[in-house]
Symmetry: C2
Subunit: 231 residues, 2 copies
């Protein structure tokens, strides 16, 4: 009997935003795997730290953050480590910030393992939903076109995409912040846009965009453009 593989969404940062299902599966797994960021920070682990118990085997997985090409051997290696545990009959939980299938690294493990082992994906609360909740800003109404775009895109592509959106979330701001602000002004979206970083964590920060120092904008930040249809 092999073990079961679980990709569990652990939500945006507040440990209480795990679903009850994710909590149950996490508590009962023998192996808990999680990605490390480039700076070797255990961000995903820190969200659920209070739920772990000492008998659980932890598997930190290092994935290069920026260069997609060179990450593949790291996914191969992590998948093999997890496969060994699964073959020994141990259930393995992979911690996924937000939701497992939404802009994460779990998919690279899923594609390598789900054919070989029984696999379950437990959806989670995305920062795309958590940020409007923290900002107190309803996001989408009725038949709005809603869009998630990455700030890494070129100004031209950002403009082309956002032009068809009624509401949007712009993720991965970091050093692309100034470019995004220029695009928002050109599209007439600047006045509606709201900024938040590290939503629902203890380091959450909400600042008017006009008061932000572009040099201080982290990767884990978001600009929310709420629907123009405010009731």
């Amino acid at each position: 009997m092999t073990g079961r593989l679980y990709g569990i969404g652990i939500g945006p940062g507040d440990p209480e935003l795990l679903t009850m299902k994710a909590f149950r599966v996490l508590r009962s797994a023998q192996v808990v795997a999680y990605p490390l960021s480039d700076s070797a920070l255990k961000l995903a682990r820190s969200i659920v730290a209070e739920y772990l118990h000492p008998e659980q085997i932890e598997v930190p997985m290092y994935f290069p953050f920026k260069l997609e090409e060179s990450a593949q051997p790291y996914y191969d290696k992590a998948a093999e480590t997890l496969a060994e545990h699964l073959q020994q009959g141990r259930d393995v939980v992979v911690l996924c910030e937000g939701d497992p299938f939404f802009y994460g690294s779990f998919m690279y493990l899923y594609s390598r393992l789900s054919d070989r082992f029984p696999t379950e994906v437990i959806p989670g609360v995305s920062c795309v939903m958590a940020s409007p909740a923290m900002l107190g800003t309803p996001l989408t109404y009725r038949n709005d076109v809603f869009m998630v775009v990455s700030a890494i895109m070129s100004a031209e592509d950002l403009k082309k995409s956002l032009a068809v959106a009624d509401a949007a979330a712009i993720i991965k701001l970091g050093r692309h912040f100034t470019k995004v602000v220029t695009v928002l002004k050109e599209l007439g979206l600047y006045d509606r846009a709201k900024y938040i970083e590290r939503a629902t964590t203890s380091q959450q920060r909400i600042v008017p965009i006009s008061e932000l120092d572009p040099a201080e904008v982290p990767y884990f930040s978001m600009i929310v453009i709420p629907s123009k249809w405010q009731p």
Copy 2:
């Protein structure tokens, strides 16, 4: 002392997909309000039925489903009922399928009450995340443009919007299913598209699109177009 108003996301249907925070707040509130659909079905209530206790005051709220214009007086009336409970010092929880600020009716209560009473919004798992998890289909990678569109839009608008998306969710299918399929074929997205209805509920159904009877497609169904970048 007035009570507190909570809009809580209760997720897509599986009762275990409530967050631990939503569960805690729900259990401790004196008043539980929820929308009724046109057919007077207590869909939201049914998701959390096992968590309610008999001392809680229930407030079913009828909102007309289809005609937005005439819904405003119903929102006014529901808001006044909730305001009376809040003024009496009772905490009021409003059940929101999926996430409170994402295509829901909670915003209409929020806009009427959040200025007058302390209000908290607890984000939830959206069916947009839950459906790919149930389908076993990773949704978005890296710098994908992700989009949510409503099937109610015209074929022309659907085409214009989806043309800029790398991945998408098409919601509220119902009687618009055939139109959507035509659009997907024209855009070359048909082969990637996957169908699911009532994701994570006991009535969940996954069917290949080619085998669907258009007359049977319910409102609570979705077509997921996963990213073209599959690992």
